[in-house]
Amino acid sequence: MEKRGPSGTAAAARRRAAGAHRRADRAEALAAQQEHFAEKTGHPLHLRLAETHRKAAAAHRSSANLQDAYARRLESWQSPADPPPPFMSVVADACGTGSAALALLGSDHSQLAVAASDGPSRAAQDLEYVLGEGPCRDAAAGRCRVTVAGPAIERRWPGYGSAVTALGFGEVVAVPLETPDGCLGSLAVFDPRPGIARSAVFAEITEALVRTVLLGPDADPELYGGTDHRDTVHQAAGMVSVQARCPVEDALALIKAKAYADGVPVNEMARRIVHGKLRLA
Protein backbone atom coordinates (compact mmCIF):
# COMPACT_ATOMS: atom_id res chain seq x y z
CA MET A 1 0.00 0.00 0.00
CA GLU A 2 1.35 3.36 -1.04
CA LYS A 3 2.02 5.73 1.82
CA ARG A 4 -0.27 8.73 1.59
CA GLY A 5 0.74 12.35 2.08
CA PRO A 6 3.78 14.27 0.89
CA SER A 7 6.43 11.76 2.04
CA GLY A 8 4.56 8.95 0.25
CA THR A 9 4.24 10.90 -3.00
CA ALA A 10 7.89 11.99 -2.74
CA ALA A 11 8.95 8.37 -2.37
CA ALA A 12 6.83 7.45 -5.39
CA ALA A 13 8.50 10.21 -7.41
CA ARG A 14 11.92 8.88 -6.34
CA ARG A 15 10.91 5.42 -7.52
CA ARG A 16 9.77 6.78 -10.88
CA ALA A 17 13.06 8.70 -11.13
CA ALA A 18 15.07 5.53 -10.48
CA GLY A 19 13.09 3.65 -13.14
CA ALA A 20 13.61 6.44 -15.66
CA HIS A 21 17.36 6.53 -14.89
CA ARG A 22 17.52 2.76 -15.50
CA ARG A 23 15.70 3.12 -18.84
CA ALA A 24 18.05 5.96 -19.81
CA ASP A 25 21.09 3.79 -19.00
CA ARG A 26 19.72 0.93 -21.05
CA ALA A 27 18.99 3.17 -24.04
CA GLU A 28 22.50 4.62 -23.83
CA ALA A 29 23.98 1.12 -23.84
CA LEU A 30 21.90 0.24 -26.93
CA ALA A 31 23.06 3.44 -28.64
CA ALA A 32 26.70 2.59 -27.90
CA GLN A 33 26.14 -0.90 -29.34
CA GLN A 34 24.70 0.53 -32.56
CA GLU A 35 27.57 3.02 -32.82
CA HIS A 36 29.93 0.09 -32.50
CA PHE A 37 28.09 -1.73 -35.32
CA ALA A 38 28.24 1.42 -37.42
CA GLU A 39 31.99 1.55 -36.98
CA LYS A 40 32.36 -2.12 -37.87
CA THR A 41 30.02 -2.23 -40.88
CA GLY A 42 30.14 1.39 -42.00
CA HIS A 43 26.39 1.23 -42.56
CA PRO A 44 24.44 4.46 -41.94
CA LEU A 45 21.42 2.48 -40.69
CA HIS A 46 23.23 1.74 -37.44
CA LEU A 47 23.94 5.42 -36.96
CA ARG A 48 20.24 6.16 -37.48
CA LEU A 49 19.32 3.53 -34.90
CA ALA A 50 21.96 4.86 -32.51
CA GLU A 51 20.42 8.29 -32.85
CA THR A 52 16.96 6.88 -32.04
CA HIS A 53 18.35 5.31 -28.87
CA ARG A 54 20.22 8.49 -27.91
CA LYS A 55 16.99 10.43 -28.26
CA ALA A 56 15.10 7.92 -26.11
CA ALA A 57 17.90 8.01 -23.53
CA ALA A 58 17.71 11.81 -23.36
CA ALA A 59 13.93 11.73 -22.86
CA HIS A 60 14.21 9.14 -20.07
CA ARG A 61 17.03 11.10 -18.42
CA SER A 62 15.01 14.29 -18.62
CA SER A 63 12.02 12.51 -17.12
CA ALA A 64 14.21 11.17 -14.32
CA ASN A 65 15.48 14.68 -13.56
CA LEU A 66 11.93 16.05 -13.47
CA GLN A 67 10.86 13.28 -11.07
CA ASP A 68 13.91 13.90 -8.85
CA ALA A 69 13.13 17.62 -8.77
CA TYR A 70 9.47 16.86 -8.00
CA ALA A 71 10.51 14.58 -5.13
CA ARG A 72 12.79 17.29 -3.72
CA ARG A 73 10.00 19.83 -3.95
CA LEU A 74 7.55 17.53 -2.17
CA GLU A 75 10.11 16.77 0.52
CA SER A 76 10.68 20.45 1.24
CA TRP A 77 6.98 21.26 1.18
CA GLN A 78 6.41 22.71 4.65
CA SER A 79 2.80 23.82 4.89
CA PRO A 80 0.36 20.91 4.72
CA ALA A 81 -2.51 23.40 4.88
CA ASP A 82 -1.72 24.48 1.30
CA PRO A 83 -2.20 22.22 -1.68
CA PRO A 84 0.93 20.24 -2.58
CA PRO A 85 3.23 21.74 -5.24
CA PRO A 86 2.06 20.70 -8.70
CA PHE A 87 4.25 18.57 -10.96
CA MET A 88 4.06 21.34 -13.55
CA SER A 89 6.04 23.60 -11.19
CA VAL A 90 9.15 21.51 -11.79
CA VAL A 91 8.50 21.57 -15.53
CA ALA A 92 8.31 25.38 -15.35
CA ASP A 93 11.45 25.45 -13.25
CA ALA A 94 13.34 23.36 -15.81
CA CYS A 95 12.35 25.94 -18.44
CA GLY A 96 13.68 28.78 -16.32
CA THR A 97 10.31 30.28 -15.42
CA GLY A 98 7.54 29.99 -12.88
CA SER A 99 4.76 29.67 -15.44
CA ALA A 100 4.16 26.59 -17.57
CA ALA A 101 0.95 24.80 -18.45
CA LEU A 102 -0.01 21.66 -20.26
CA ALA A 103 -3.22 21.23 -22.20
CA LEU A 104 -4.54 17.87 -23.37
CA LEU A 105 -6.51 18.56 -26.52
CA GLY A 106 -9.19 16.74 -28.46
CA SER A 107 -9.02 16.04 -32.18
CA ASP A 108 -10.68 19.43 -32.79
CA HIS A 109 -7.86 21.01 -30.69
CA SER A 110 -10.27 21.97 -27.94
CA GLN A 111 -9.08 21.60 -24.34
CA LEU A 112 -10.07 18.38 -22.63
CA ALA A 113 -7.87 18.80 -19.57
CA VAL A 114 -5.33 21.24 -18.25
CA ALA A 115 -2.51 21.39 -15.70
CA ALA A 116 -0.63 24.51 -14.70
CA SER A 117 2.32 25.44 -12.52
CA ASP A 118 0.88 28.63 -11.04
CA GLY A 119 -2.06 31.07 -11.08
CA PRO A 120 -1.05 33.19 -14.08
CA SER A 121 -0.31 30.21 -16.37
CA ARG A 122 -3.61 28.67 -15.29
CA ALA A 123 -5.38 31.97 -16.08
CA ALA A 124 -3.77 31.94 -19.53
CA GLN A 125 -5.09 28.40 -20.14
CA ASP A 126 -8.56 29.56 -19.09
CA LEU A 127 -8.37 32.43 -21.57
CA GLU A 128 -7.46 30.03 -24.33
CA TYR A 129 -10.32 27.77 -23.31
CA VAL A 130 -12.88 30.54 -23.19
CA LEU A 131 -11.77 32.40 -26.32
CA GLY A 132 -10.93 29.39 -28.47
CA GLU A 133 -7.68 30.93 -29.65
CA GLY A 134 -4.12 30.87 -28.42
CA PRO A 135 -0.70 29.24 -28.57
CA CYS A 136 -1.59 25.69 -27.41
CA ARG A 137 -4.30 25.34 -30.02
CA ASP A 138 -2.03 26.76 -32.75
CA ALA A 139 0.92 24.53 -31.79
CA ALA A 140 -1.26 21.40 -31.88
CA ALA A 141 -3.10 22.37 -35.07
CA GLY A 142 0.10 23.22 -36.96
CA ARG A 143 2.19 20.54 -35.24
CA CYS A 144 4.92 23.08 -34.77
CA ARG A 145 6.47 25.25 -32.12
CA VAL A 146 4.82 28.65 -31.67
CA THR A 147 6.97 31.44 -30.24
CA VAL A 148 5.46 34.91 -29.94
CA ALA A 149 6.77 37.87 -27.97
CA GLY A 150 5.90 41.52 -27.29
CA PRO A 151 3.37 43.39 -29.42
CA ALA A 152 3.15 40.42 -31.81
CA ILE A 153 1.12 38.58 -29.15
CA GLU A 154 -1.83 40.97 -29.51
CA ARG A 155 -1.51 41.07 -33.27
CA ARG A 156 -1.64 37.29 -33.54
CA TRP A 157 -4.52 36.70 -31.11
CA PRO A 158 -6.72 39.80 -30.81
CA GLY A 159 -8.73 38.54 -27.82
CA TYR A 160 -6.29 36.22 -26.09
CA GLY A 161 -3.30 38.45 -26.78
CA SER A 162 -4.39 41.53 -24.88
CA ALA A 163 -5.69 39.46 -21.97
CA VAL A 164 -2.53 37.38 -21.64
CA THR A 165 -0.39 40.52 -21.90
CA ALA A 166 -2.49 42.00 -19.08
CA LEU A 167 -1.49 38.98 -16.97
CA GLY A 168 2.06 40.31 -17.27
CA PHE A 169 3.49 37.89 -19.81
CA GLY A 170 5.84 39.19 -22.50
CA GLU A 171 6.57 35.95 -24.33
CA VAL A 172 4.89 32.64 -24.89
CA VAL A 173 6.31 29.44 -26.35
CA ALA A 174 4.05 26.49 -27.11
CA VAL A 175 5.11 23.08 -28.42
CA PRO A 176 2.90 20.19 -29.55
CA LEU A 177 3.07 16.99 -27.49
CA GLU A 178 3.48 14.68 -30.45
CA THR A 179 3.19 10.90 -30.45
CA PRO A 180 4.40 8.70 -33.34
CA ASP A 181 1.12 9.26 -35.16
CA GLY A 182 -0.79 11.95 -33.33
CA CYS A 183 -0.74 14.81 -30.90
CA LEU A 184 -1.90 14.73 -27.28
CA GLY A 185 -1.94 18.47 -26.75
CA SER A 186 0.56 21.22 -26.07
CA LEU A 187 2.95 22.54 -23.49
CA ALA A 188 2.94 26.32 -23.06
CA VAL A 189 5.77 28.12 -21.31
CA PHE A 190 5.47 31.79 -20.40
CA ASP A 191 8.48 34.10 -20.19
CA PRO A 192 11.00 31.26 -20.43
CA ARG A 193 14.70 31.74 -19.78
CA PRO A 194 16.10 33.35 -22.94
CA GLY A 195 17.34 30.80 -25.45
CA ILE A 196 15.88 27.77 -23.71
CA ALA A 197 13.01 27.27 -26.15
CA ARG A 198 15.49 26.59 -28.95
CA SER A 199 17.66 24.33 -26.80
CA ALA A 200 17.83 20.56 -26.60
CA VAL A 201 16.66 20.76 -22.97
CA PHE A 202 13.28 22.04 -24.07
CA ALA A 203 12.86 19.34 -26.71
CA GLU A 204 13.88 16.71 -24.15
CA ILE A 205 11.36 17.96 -21.60
CA THR A 206 8.60 17.77 -24.21
CA GLU A 207 9.68 14.25 -25.20
CA ALA A 208 9.82 13.26 -21.54
CA LEU A 209 6.28 14.53 -20.94
CA VAL A 210 4.89 12.50 -23.84
CA ARG A 211 6.96 9.35 -23.44
CA THR A 212 7.05 8.88 -19.75
CA VAL A 213 4.52 11.13 -18.02
CA LEU A 214 1.54 10.83 -20.34
CA LEU A 215 2.08 7.51 -22.14
CA GLY A 216 5.08 5.67 -20.69
CA PRO A 217 5.48 2.81 -18.24
CA ASP A 218 4.96 5.13 -15.24
CA ALA A 219 2.42 7.30 -17.02
CA ASP A 220 -0.08 9.31 -15.07
CA PRO A 221 -2.08 11.67 -17.28
CA GLU A 222 -3.49 13.08 -14.04
CA LEU A 223 0.03 14.47 -13.43
CA TYR A 224 -0.01 13.08 -9.90
CA GLY A 225 -3.17 14.96 -9.04
CA GLY A 226 -2.51 18.19 -10.92
CA THR A 227 -4.79 17.74 -13.93
CA ASP A 228 -8.12 19.56 -14.09
CA HIS A 229 -10.75 18.02 -16.36
CA ARG A 230 -13.18 20.90 -15.78
CA ASP A 231 -15.83 18.46 -14.59
CA THR A 232 -17.96 21.24 -13.15
CA VAL A 233 -17.94 23.15 -16.45
CA HIS A 234 -19.26 20.10 -18.28
CA GLN A 235 -21.90 19.45 -15.64
CA ALA A 236 -22.99 23.07 -15.97
CA ALA A 237 -23.10 22.74 -19.77
CA GLY A 238 -25.40 19.73 -19.42
CA MET A 239 -27.65 21.69 -17.08
CA VAL A 240 -27.78 24.77 -19.28
CA SER A 241 -28.54 22.67 -22.35
CA VAL A 242 -31.74 21.47 -20.65
CA GLN A 243 -32.64 24.88 -19.22
CA ALA A 244 -32.07 26.70 -22.51
CA ARG A 245 -33.23 23.78 -24.72
CA CYS A 246 -30.09 23.93 -26.81
CA PRO A 247 -27.31 21.54 -27.83
CA VAL A 248 -24.64 21.04 -25.19
CA GLU A 249 -21.99 22.70 -27.39
CA ASP A 250 -24.07 25.88 -27.47
CA ALA A 251 -24.60 25.69 -23.72
CA LEU A 252 -20.84 25.45 -23.22
CA ALA A 253 -20.30 28.47 -25.48
CA LEU A 254 -22.89 30.38 -23.46
CA ILE A 255 -21.07 29.62 -20.19
CA LYS A 256 -17.71 30.63 -21.66
CA ALA A 257 -19.12 33.89 -23.04
CA LYS A 258 -20.73 34.76 -19.73
CA ALA A 259 -17.51 34.00 -17.83
CA TYR A 260 -15.47 36.17 -20.19
CA ALA A 261 -17.98 39.04 -20.15
CA ASP A 262 -18.13 39.04 -16.33
CA GLY A 263 -14.37 38.56 -15.91
CA VAL A 264 -14.97 35.45 -13.82
CA PRO A 265 -12.91 32.23 -14.19
CA VAL A 266 -14.92 29.70 -16.17
CA ASN A 267 -14.71 27.08 -13.40
CA GLU A 268 -16.18 29.59 -10.93
CA MET A 269 -18.97 30.49 -13.35
CA ALA A 270 -19.78 26.80 -13.71
CA ARG A 271 -19.79 26.31 -9.95
CA ARG A 272 -22.40 29.05 -9.59
CA ILE A 273 -24.60 27.34 -12.17
CA VAL A 274 -24.23 23.87 -10.65
CA HIS A 275 -25.03 25.21 -7.18
CA GLY A 276 -28.14 26.90 -8.49
CA LYS A 277 -26.90 30.44 -7.83
CA LEU A 278 -27.12 31.38 -11.48
CA ARG A 279 -29.39 30.43 -14.38
CA LEU A 280 -28.34 31.29 -17.90
CA ALA A 281 -31.63 30.54 -19.60
Partner: protein, 240 residues
Amino acid sequence: MTTPAQQIADVFVELSGGTAGAPLEVPELLSTLARCSPRLLGVRAAGAVGAVDDRAEPQVAGSEDGAQLLNQEALKWREGPGADSRRSGRPLPGIAFDGQAARQRWPRYAPRALELGYARAAAFPLRTGERSVGALVLLGSAADAPVSEEKAALAQSLADFTGLVLTRDHELHASRALSSQLEFALNSRVIIEQAKGVLATRHSLTMDGAFALLRGHARAHRRLLSDVAHDIVEGRLDLG
Protein backbone atom coordinates in the same frame (compact mmCIF):
# COMPACT_ATOMS: atom_id res chain seq x y z
CA MET B 1 35.81 -16.35 -47.90
CA THR B 2 34.20 -13.03 -47.01
CA THR B 3 30.63 -12.05 -47.72
CA PRO B 4 30.55 -9.05 -50.04
CA ALA B 5 29.86 -5.94 -48.01
CA GLN B 6 27.23 -4.75 -50.45
CA GLN B 7 25.25 -7.94 -50.04
CA ILE B 8 25.29 -7.54 -46.25
CA ALA B 9 24.26 -3.92 -46.49
CA ASP B 10 21.36 -4.85 -48.79
CA VAL B 11 19.99 -7.31 -46.25
CA PHE B 12 20.11 -4.68 -43.48
CA VAL B 13 18.28 -2.26 -45.74
CA GLU B 14 15.65 -4.89 -46.55
CA LEU B 15 15.14 -5.71 -42.86
CA SER B 16 14.60 -2.07 -42.07
CA GLY B 17 11.84 -1.83 -44.66
CA GLY B 18 13.65 -1.29 -47.94
CA THR B 19 14.67 1.98 -49.50
CA ALA B 20 11.16 3.37 -48.94
CA GLY B 21 11.90 3.05 -45.22
CA ALA B 22 8.38 1.96 -44.31
CA PRO B 23 8.78 -0.42 -41.36
CA LEU B 24 7.93 -4.06 -42.04
CA GLU B 25 5.14 -5.76 -40.16
CA VAL B 26 6.32 -8.54 -37.86
CA PRO B 27 5.52 -11.53 -40.16
CA GLU B 28 7.22 -9.83 -43.12
CA LEU B 29 10.23 -8.97 -41.02
CA LEU B 30 10.69 -12.55 -39.83
CA SER B 31 10.21 -13.98 -43.29
CA THR B 32 12.72 -11.49 -44.73
CA LEU B 33 15.27 -12.59 -42.13
CA ALA B 34 14.61 -16.27 -42.88
CA ARG B 35 14.69 -15.74 -46.65
CA CYS B 36 17.90 -13.67 -46.77
CA SER B 37 19.94 -15.69 -44.28
CA PRO B 38 20.74 -18.89 -46.23
CA ARG B 39 22.51 -17.16 -49.12
CA LEU B 40 24.29 -14.62 -46.96
CA LEU B 41 25.42 -17.15 -44.37
CA GLY B 42 26.00 -20.12 -46.65
CA VAL B 43 23.51 -22.58 -45.14
CA ARG B 44 20.73 -24.63 -46.70
CA ALA B 45 17.79 -23.09 -44.85
CA ALA B 46 16.86 -20.75 -42.05
CA GLY B 47 13.97 -20.20 -39.70
CA ALA B 48 13.04 -17.23 -37.53
CA VAL B 49 10.81 -16.98 -34.49
CA GLY B 50 9.74 -13.74 -32.87
CA ALA B 51 7.76 -13.03 -29.69
CA VAL B 52 8.18 -9.49 -28.50
CA ASP B 53 5.18 -9.59 -26.22
CA ASP B 54 4.84 -12.40 -23.68
CA ARG B 55 1.08 -12.31 -24.01
CA ALA B 56 1.01 -12.74 -27.78
CA GLU B 57 1.51 -15.98 -29.71
CA PRO B 58 5.07 -16.19 -31.11
CA GLN B 59 5.32 -15.93 -34.87
CA VAL B 60 7.49 -18.06 -37.12
CA ALA B 61 8.91 -17.97 -40.64
CA GLY B 62 11.07 -20.33 -42.70
CA SER B 63 13.12 -19.95 -45.87
CA GLU B 64 11.58 -23.19 -47.21
CA ASP B 65 8.64 -25.40 -46.32
CA GLY B 66 10.68 -27.82 -44.22
CA ALA B 67 12.20 -25.04 -42.14
CA GLN B 68 8.80 -23.42 -41.65
CA LEU B 69 7.25 -26.71 -40.54
CA LEU B 70 10.12 -27.54 -38.20
CA ASN B 71 9.90 -24.11 -36.66
CA GLN B 72 6.18 -24.46 -36.02
CA GLU B 73 6.67 -27.85 -34.41
CA ALA B 74 9.54 -26.50 -32.31
CA LEU B 75 7.16 -23.88 -31.00
CA LYS B 76 4.51 -26.48 -30.19
CA TRP B 77 6.99 -28.78 -28.46
CA ARG B 78 8.96 -25.95 -26.85
CA GLU B 79 12.13 -27.69 -28.03
CA GLY B 80 14.97 -27.06 -30.38
CA PRO B 81 17.91 -24.70 -30.80
CA GLY B 82 15.70 -21.65 -31.44
CA ALA B 83 13.66 -22.17 -28.27
CA ASP B 84 16.81 -22.73 -26.17
CA SER B 85 18.63 -19.74 -27.60
CA ARG B 86 15.59 -17.50 -27.15
CA ARG B 87 15.27 -18.55 -23.52
CA SER B 88 18.96 -18.25 -22.62
CA GLY B 89 19.66 -15.17 -24.72
CA ARG B 90 22.87 -16.84 -25.91
CA PRO B 91 23.85 -18.16 -29.32
CA LEU B 92 24.07 -21.91 -29.83
CA PRO B 93 26.98 -22.82 -32.08
CA GLY B 94 26.67 -25.74 -34.51
CA ILE B 95 24.99 -28.83 -33.17
CA ALA B 96 24.60 -32.07 -35.12
CA PHE B 97 21.17 -33.70 -34.84
CA ASP B 98 22.46 -37.28 -35.06
CA GLY B 99 24.58 -36.96 -31.91
CA GLN B 100 23.59 -38.32 -28.49
CA ALA B 101 23.51 -34.79 -27.00
CA ALA B 102 20.98 -33.45 -29.51
CA ARG B 103 18.68 -36.47 -29.12
CA GLN B 104 18.69 -36.12 -25.36
CA ARG B 105 18.18 -32.41 -25.42
CA TRP B 106 15.44 -32.38 -28.06
CA PRO B 107 13.78 -35.82 -28.11
CA ARG B 108 11.09 -34.80 -30.60
CA TYR B 109 12.82 -32.00 -32.50
CA ALA B 110 16.10 -33.76 -33.37
CA PRO B 111 14.57 -36.83 -35.11
CA ARG B 112 12.07 -34.62 -36.92
CA ALA B 113 14.87 -32.34 -38.22
CA LEU B 114 16.77 -35.36 -39.56
CA GLU B 115 13.58 -36.64 -41.19
CA LEU B 116 13.21 -33.28 -42.98
CA GLY B 117 16.79 -33.51 -44.24
CA TYR B 118 18.58 -31.18 -41.81
CA ALA B 119 21.74 -32.54 -40.22
CA ARG B 120 22.92 -29.62 -38.10
CA ALA B 121 21.81 -26.28 -36.72
CA ALA B 122 23.09 -23.09 -35.17
CA ALA B 123 20.85 -20.58 -33.38
CA PHE B 124 21.18 -16.90 -32.52
CA PRO B 125 18.92 -14.93 -30.17
CA LEU B 126 17.18 -11.78 -31.42
CA ARG B 127 18.49 -9.60 -28.61
CA THR B 128 17.36 -6.18 -27.64
CA GLY B 129 19.13 -4.83 -24.61
CA GLU B 130 18.59 -7.32 -21.80
CA ARG B 131 15.87 -9.39 -23.35
CA SER B 132 15.68 -11.69 -26.31
CA VAL B 133 12.55 -11.46 -28.40
CA GLY B 134 13.11 -14.40 -30.73
CA ALA B 135 15.75 -16.46 -32.50
CA LEU B 136 17.32 -17.08 -35.88
CA VAL B 137 17.93 -20.78 -36.60
CA LEU B 138 20.32 -21.83 -39.37
CA LEU B 139 19.76 -25.32 -40.73
CA GLY B 140 22.38 -27.26 -42.72
CA SER B 141 22.30 -30.50 -44.66
CA ALA B 142 24.92 -33.19 -44.13
CA ALA B 143 27.05 -31.79 -46.94
CA ASP B 144 27.21 -28.26 -45.49
CA ALA B 145 30.24 -27.11 -43.55
CA PRO B 146 29.62 -25.83 -40.01
CA VAL B 147 28.99 -22.11 -39.70
CA SER B 148 32.32 -20.26 -39.50
CA GLU B 149 33.13 -17.82 -36.72
CA GLU B 150 32.87 -14.92 -39.12
CA LYS B 151 29.46 -16.05 -40.41
CA ALA B 152 28.30 -16.59 -36.84
CA ALA B 153 29.19 -12.98 -35.98
CA LEU B 154 27.28 -11.78 -39.03
CA ALA B 155 24.30 -13.99 -38.12
CA GLN B 156 24.25 -12.50 -34.62
CA SER B 157 24.30 -8.93 -36.01
CA LEU B 158 21.39 -9.78 -38.30
CA ALA B 159 19.52 -11.33 -35.37
CA ASP B 160 20.16 -8.33 -33.12
CA PHE B 161 19.14 -5.94 -35.83
CA THR B 162 15.88 -7.84 -36.31
CA GLY B 163 15.35 -7.80 -32.53
CA LEU B 164 15.67 -4.02 -32.54
CA VAL B 165 13.23 -3.57 -35.40
CA LEU B 166 10.78 -5.92 -33.67
CA THR B 167 10.92 -3.97 -30.43
CA ARG B 168 10.57 -0.66 -32.17
CA ASP B 169 7.49 -1.91 -33.98
CA HIS B 170 6.09 -3.16 -30.68
CA GLU B 171 6.73 0.16 -28.96
CA LEU B 172 5.04 2.02 -31.77
CA HIS B 173 1.91 -0.14 -31.48
CA ALA B 174 1.92 0.20 -27.69
CA SER B 175 2.22 3.96 -27.93
CA ARG B 176 -0.67 4.14 -30.41
CA ALA B 177 -2.85 2.02 -28.15
CA LEU B 178 -1.99 4.14 -25.12
CA SER B 179 -2.70 7.44 -26.83
CA SER B 180 -6.06 6.29 -28.15
CA GLN B 181 -6.94 4.98 -24.67
CA LEU B 182 -6.04 8.34 -23.21
CA GLU B 183 -8.12 10.22 -25.75
CA PHE B 184 -11.07 7.90 -25.16
CA ALA B 185 -10.81 8.35 -21.40
CA LEU B 186 -10.68 12.14 -21.69
CA ASN B 187 -13.64 12.31 -24.07
CA SER B 188 -15.70 9.85 -22.01
CA ARG B 189 -15.17 11.92 -18.92
CA VAL B 190 -16.48 15.05 -20.66
CA ILE B 191 -19.62 13.39 -22.00
CA ILE B 192 -20.36 11.67 -18.68
CA GLU B 193 -20.16 14.97 -16.77
CA GLN B 194 -22.41 16.61 -19.34
CA ALA B 195 -24.94 13.79 -19.02
CA LYS B 196 -24.90 14.19 -15.24
CA GLY B 197 -25.77 17.86 -15.71
CA VAL B 198 -28.61 16.97 -18.09
CA LEU B 199 -30.09 14.35 -15.75
CA ALA B 200 -29.65 16.52 -12.66
CA THR B 201 -31.69 19.29 -14.25
CA ARG B 202 -34.32 17.11 -15.87
CA HIS B 203 -35.03 15.12 -12.74
CA SER B 204 -34.02 17.57 -10.00
CA LEU B 205 -31.19 15.38 -8.76
CA THR B 206 -27.82 16.06 -7.17
CA MET B 207 -24.79 15.30 -9.37
CA ASP B 208 -24.19 12.12 -7.35
CA GLY B 209 -27.83 11.14 -7.79
CA ALA B 210 -27.59 11.80 -11.53
CA PHE B 211 -24.48 9.64 -11.77
CA ALA B 212 -26.17 6.80 -9.88
CA LEU B 213 -29.08 6.93 -12.34
CA LEU B 214 -26.70 6.91 -15.31
CA ARG B 215 -24.60 4.06 -13.95
CA GLY B 216 -27.66 2.05 -13.02
CA HIS B 217 -29.02 2.29 -16.55
CA ALA B 218 -25.65 1.40 -18.13
CA ARG B 219 -25.32 -1.67 -15.88
CA ALA B 220 -28.88 -2.84 -16.39
CA HIS B 221 -28.52 -2.61 -20.16
CA ARG B 222 -24.88 -3.75 -20.23
CA ARG B 223 -23.80 -0.67 -22.09
CA LEU B 224 -20.75 1.55 -21.77
CA LEU B 225 -21.30 4.49 -19.46
CA SER B 226 -20.01 6.85 -22.15
CA ASP B 227 -22.42 5.45 -24.78
CA VAL B 228 -25.41 5.96 -22.51
CA ALA B 229 -24.12 9.44 -21.66
CA HIS B 230 -23.90 10.27 -25.38
CA ASP B 231 -27.51 9.25 -25.94
CA ILE B 232 -28.65 11.35 -23.00
CA VAL B 233 -26.71 14.46 -24.01
CA GLU B 234 -27.95 14.20 -27.58
CA GLY B 235 -31.55 13.79 -26.46
CA ARG B 236 -32.00 10.23 -27.74
CA LEU B 237 -32.55 8.81 -24.29
CA ASP B 238 -34.25 9.96 -21.14
CA LEU B 239 -34.03 8.13 -17.83
CA GLY B 240 -36.29 8.31 -14.84
